[in-house]
C-alpha cells in the first residue's frame, strides 16, 4: 500500500504505475490544517477522474473529533473511494461512528449501502488493548493497520532499529486480525534510502504474520514485494500439496498424503495462501520461466 500525500498533485496523477496493490491518499498527517479543504477537493477530483487501474483506492480521512472528519468522509464516499481508513482508532465506538457517517453518505449519494469498506489504523495503547473489539466492530472492516509513530509517542518511547517497542503491538494486531478473519498491515519504514533495513523489517513482520506493509516511496514497493513473494520452491511445494489435497477429495478421502507423509489441514490452507500471494505479486511460475 503506497502512501500518497493528499495535497500533492504531482504525485497523484500516476501513483498507480509503480505496482503497489493499494494507494492510500492521505488527508490527515501529510496535510497542514490550512490546506485540509484544498486536499479534500484535490483527492475528490483525482478519484473521480484518474483511472488507477487495478490499485485499490484507500483514503485516510481525518478523525471524526476534528472539524474535517465528517466532510472528508462525505466527499470520499461520494468520490467512490473503495476503502476509508480511519486514523487513531481507539475503541469499537470509533468504528461505529465512522460507519454511521459512511452509511449516511452512501444514502445521500445513492451508493449501495455497505459498498464502501473500512480500514482502521491503531496508533495508541488504548487501540492496541481494544484491537479485537475494533477488528470485529463492523462487517465493512477489511483490515487493521499499525501506525507506529504515534504509538511510540503514546508509549513514551521511541522507534529503534530492531523494533522491540513495537513487538507487543504488532503481535496484538496480528492476533486480533486473525481472530476476526481480516487482514493486518504493518506500519511504514520511513528511511527511504535504507533498503537493507526495510527488507529486514519486512521479513520480520512477515514472520509475525502480517499480510502487508505500508510504503511511503515507490522505491520501497519492490523490496517489500520481494519479501512477500513466495520463492519458486515454496510455490512448487504449495502446488503439489494442493494437487494432493484435490486428489484426496476426489477419492472421497479425508486423508491427504504427499511423499508418504500425512498432511494436516492447516498445511493445505497455508499452501493455498502461498499460491494466492504468488498470484497477487505476479510471481513467475517455474514451468513458465524460460
Amino acid at each position: 500500500m503506497l502512501f500518497v500525500p493528499g495535497n500533492n498533485p504531482g504525485m497523484m496523477s500516476d501513483a498507480h504505475i509503480y505496482g503497489s496493490d493499494a494507494l492510500m491518499f492521505d488527508l490527515e498527517d501529510s496535510v497542514t490544517l490550512r490546506e485540509k479543504d484544498a486536499a479534500r477537493l484535490l483527492v475528490y477530483h483525482a478519484l473521480r477522474t484518474i483511472h488507477y487501474g487495478e490499485c485499490e483506492r484507500v483514503v485516510r480521512v481525518n478523525p471524526l473529533n476534528t472539524p474535517y472528519g465528517k466532510a472528508d468522509i462525505e466527499a470520499m464516499v461520494a468520490a467512490g473511494a473503495e476503502v476509508i481508513r480511519l486514523p487513531k482508532t481507539e475503541t469499537a465506538q470509533d468504528i461505529f461512528d465512522t460507519e454511521a457517517e459512511i452509511e449516511r453518505a452512501e444514502q445521500k449519494f445513492g451508493i449501495p449501502i455497505g459498498q464502501t469498506r473500512m480500514m482502521a489504523a491503531i496508533e495508541g495503547a488504548l487501540g492496541v488493548v481494544n484491537a479485537y473489539a475494533i477488528a470485529t466492530a463492523s462487517p465493512r472492516l477489511v483490515a487493521i493497520a499499525l501506525g507506529a509513530e504515534d504509538y511510540c509517542a503514546n508509549l513514551k518511547t521511541s522507534r529503534s532499529l530492531e523494533g522491540s517497542e513495537l513487538f507487543f503491538a504488532r503481535g496484538a494486531i496480528v492476533v486480533a486480525a486473525r481472530a476476526a478473519g481480516i487482514d493486518c498491515i504493518d506500519t511504514v519504514y520511513s528511511d527511504v534510502n535504507n533498503e537493507e533495513q526495510l527488507v529486514k523489517e519486512t521479513q520480520a513482520i512477515k514472520q509475525l504474520g502480517f499480510d502487508g506493509k505500508s510504503v511511503i516511496n515507490p522505491r520501497q514497493i519492490k523490496p517489500v514485494h520481494r519479501v512477500f513473494t513466495p520463492t519458486h520452491e515454496e510455490i512448487g511445494k504449495a502446488q503439489r500439496i494442493l494437487a494432493a489435497s484435490q486428489e484426496a477429495a476426489a477419492r472421497g478421502s479425508g486423508v491427504v498424503a504427499l511423499d508418504g507423509k500425512m498432511i494436516d489441514r492447516p498445511v493445505v490452507l497455508r499452501a493455498q495462501r502461498t499460491l494466492e500471494l504468488a498470484y497477487a505479486s505476479r510471481a513467475v511460475f517455474e514451468e513458465e520461466e524460460l
Binding site: S13, D14, I17, Y18, I50, H51, N217, P218, R219, K222, R282, V284, E288, L290
Partner: protein, 512 residues
C-alpha cells in the same frame, strides 16, 4: 651506385628524378639543435590566436569548426568568435560538432553579420530560442554525429579552419582530452568528434591551457594533422566540463523505466555472452546500466564491448569484467575520462569509426542493443530529441539516428507524460530518428514493440512482459492530458533536420 651516365639513363628509363640536396623546397631542412632546444624554438606554438588566424589564411565566408567535448564549460567557441569579430571577419560559416547553453553570446555575432550559417548536432538555451524565433536568415542545419562525419569526409562540409580545444598538447601538436603527464587543468577524456575535424580541415589550430613535453602519448589528435598551437588561459570551466560521476537517478519514473528496459533487453533475444551495447546518459538510460549489471551477474553474461558516450557506470562494468572493451567517442563524466586515461581496454575512437553511415566498419553497425532516450515518440515510432513540446529547439540529434539504424535492437525510453505534456503522441514535432529504425518503446506505463519486429514482441510476451500497442499508449496519455493545441508556428524555416546521408528528414519552423 655511383652517379654516372648509366645512373641517369636508368632513371630516365624508370621515369624518376634524382635527389639533389636543397632542391625540393617542400622538404624540411635538417635541424641539428637538440630536441630540448627545438621544443622551445622550432615548434608549432604561435604567440596569439590572432597570429594563428592570420597564418591560417582565414577569409570572410569560410567555414570554421569546433568540437563540443567541453560541453557547457566550453570557453573556446566564444573566445574564438569574439576574436574573429574583433578582427573584422564576416559571413563565417560555423560547423561545430554541437552547441550548448554557454554559447548564447553567438546571438550577437549572428546579429552583427559575423556568423551567417550554422550546422551542428544540437543547440540549447538562449541561442536555440533566438534561432527558433527566426534570428538567422539561413536555417540552422542539424546533423547526427555519423552524418556530420560523413558530410566532412564527402566534402559536403569543407572545413577551412578547425579551432580545436585540447586538455593537453605537446609543442608539435599531439593533443588529447587528458594527459598522462601530471595533472591537466581541465580534462574531457575522449576527443572523438574533434579528430574528424583535425583529419579533414585545411588548417588545424589547437588551443590548449596545458603544454606538455614531447611526445604526448597517447594522443587523440596526431601531430601530423596540426598546423598551429595557441596557448590560452583556460580552455574551459573544469567544473562544467565534467561532473565527478553522472549521478544515478532516484526518480521513481526513471528507475521503473530502467528496470523494465533491462528486462526487455534480457528477454529480447540479444542478451547472450558476448553481446554488445550502448546506453545514453539520460536519467533512465543511465540507470539501465545498473539494472542490466545485476542481470549480467546473475546469468553470468559478459558484453564484448560497450560503445558511445561512456559513463562511470559503464566503466564500473569494465572494471568488474562484465564488459570487455569500451569504445569511447565522448567521455560523459570524470570517471569515464580517468578510465580512458588509465585503462588500456578503454579505447578512444573518432566519429567516423563510431557512426559514419558509409563505412561498413562503423562501430554502431556492430551493436546488438542501444538504449536511447527521447523527448517525444509518435505512433509511427518516429523520435524527436531536438525540439521541445513547445516547438522550440532545445536538444541535440547526437548519435540517435546512427545507433538506432546500426543496432540490431534499438530501445527508446521516455516517460508517457512529462507533467501535462504527453511524450507519446500521434505526431512528433520534429522527426530526428525515423520510426522504421526504432524497435521497442519503453515508458513508465507500458512497453510497445514496432510491428516490424513481431519476433521481439513474441519473446517479450513469452517472458510475461506486458506489451501493448503504441496507439494505446498515446491514447492513454491523451486521455489524461487532453489533446494539445496546434503550436503557433510561423512560415519561416529556421531549422533543417537531416538524416545520416544528408537527406532532409524534417523542417523546423519559427515559433511566434
Amino acid at each position: 651506385m655511383t652517379r654516372d651516365q648509366d645512373f641517369y639513363a636508368a632513371l630516365t628509363h624508370l621515369s624518376k628524378t634524382a635527389y639533389v640536396p636543397g632542391e625540393n623546397k617542400r622538404l624540411y631542412d635538417k635541424d641539428i639543435s637538440p630536441l630540448k632546444n627545438r621544443m622551445a624554438r622550432e615548434n608549432k606554438i604561435v604567440e596569439s590566436l590572432e597570429k594563428a588566424v592570420e597564418l591560417s589564411g582565414l577569409r570572410n565566408g569560410m567555414t570554421i569548426s569546433f568540437h563540443h567535448h567541453f560541453r557547457d564549460g566550453d570557453h573556446i567557441v566564444n573566445m574564438v568568435m569574439d576574436t574573429l569579430a574583433r578582427m573584422g571577419f564576416r559571413d563565417l560559416r560555423l560547423a561545430p560538432s554541437s552547441l550548448s547553453d554557454v554559447h548564447a553570446p553567438l546571438i550577437q555575432h549572428i546579429k552583427n553579420g559575423v556568423i551567417s550559417h550554422i550546422e551542428t548536432s544540437g543547440c540549447r538555451g538562449a541561442l536555440a530560442k533566438a534561432v527558433s524565433q527566426g534570428l538567422m536568415d539561413e536555417p540552422m542545419v542539424f546533423r547526427s554525429h555519423g552524418g556530420r562525419a560523413a558530410a566532412i569526409e564527402e566534402d559536403e562540409i569543407h572545413i577551412d579552419v578547425a579551432f580545436l580545444g585540447a586538455s593537453s598538447c605537446d609543442p608539435f601538436g599531439n593533443a588529447n582530452g587528458y594527459s598522462r603527464e601530471g595533472e591537466e587543468k581541465s580534462m574531457c577524456g575522449s576527443l572523438g568528434y574533434a579528430r574528424v575535424d583535425a583529419q579533414y580541415a585545411d588548417n588545424v589550430i589547437v588551443l590548449t591551457d596545458n603544454i606538455v613535453g614531447y611526445p604526448n602519448v597517447p594522443f587523440g589528435i596526431s601531430q601530423r594533422l596540426v598546423d598551429y598551437i595557441v596557448c590560452v588561459d583556460d580552455v574551459g570551466d573544469a567544473s562544467k566540463i565534467m561532473t565527478g560521476a553522472t549521478r544515478f537517478s532516484t526518480n521513481p519514473h526513471d528507475l521503473m523505466i530502467a528496470e523494465t528496459t533491462s528486462n526487455v533487453i534480457v528477454h529480447s533475444g540479444y542478451f547472450y555472452d558476448g553481446f554488445s551495447l550502448q546506453t545514453g546518459s539520460g536519467g533512465a538510460s543511465l540507470a539501465v546500466t545498473r539494472f542490466l549489471r545485476e542481470a549480467m551477474l546473475e546469468k553470468n553474461i559478459h558484453a564484448s564491448f560497450a560503445l558511445g558516450g561512456i559513463t562511470g557506470a559503464m566503466v564500473k562494468l569494465l572494471e568488474e569484467g562484465l564488459v570487455r572493451r569500451l569504445l569511447d567517442v565522448q567521455s560523459f563524466d570524470l570517471d569515464a575520462a580517468q578510465s580512458l586515461k588509465n585503462n588500456r581496454f578503454h579505447q578512444q575512437i573518432d566519429a567516423n569509426y563510431y557512426a559514419n553511415p558509409y563505412r561498413r566498419g562503423a562501430a554502431v553497425n556492430q551493436l546488438d542493443v542501444v538504449v536511447l532516450s527521447a523527448l517525444e515518440v509518435d505512433t509511427s515510432f518516429n523520435v524527436n530529441v531536438l525540439t521541445g513540446s513547445d516547438g522550440v529547439i532545445r536538444g541535440a540529434v547526437g548519435g540517435h539516428p546512427d545507433t538506432a539504424a546500426g543496432a540490431a535492437l534499438s530501445v527508446v525510453v521516455c516517460p508517457l507524460m512529462r507533467g501535462r505534456m504527453p511524450s507519446v503522441r500521434e505526431r512528433v514535432n520534429t522527426i530526428v530518428t525515423p520510426g522504421d529504425t526504432v524497435d521497442v518503446l519503453v515508458t513508465d506505463q507500458g512497453i510497445a514493440v514496432n510491428p516490424k519486429r513481431p519476433e521481439v514482441k513474441e519473446r517479450l510476451e513469452k517472458a510475461h512482459l506486458k506489451v501493448t500497442s503504441i496507439e494505446e499508449l498515446a491514447y492513454r496519455a491523451e486521455r489524461i492530458t487532453g489533446k494539445p493545441d496546434l503550436l503557433p508556428f510561423g512560415d519561416k524555416i529556421v531549422g533543417v533536420c537531416t538524416y545520416r546521408d544528408g537527406s532532409v528528414l524534417d523542417l523546423i519552423r519559427n515559433i511566434t
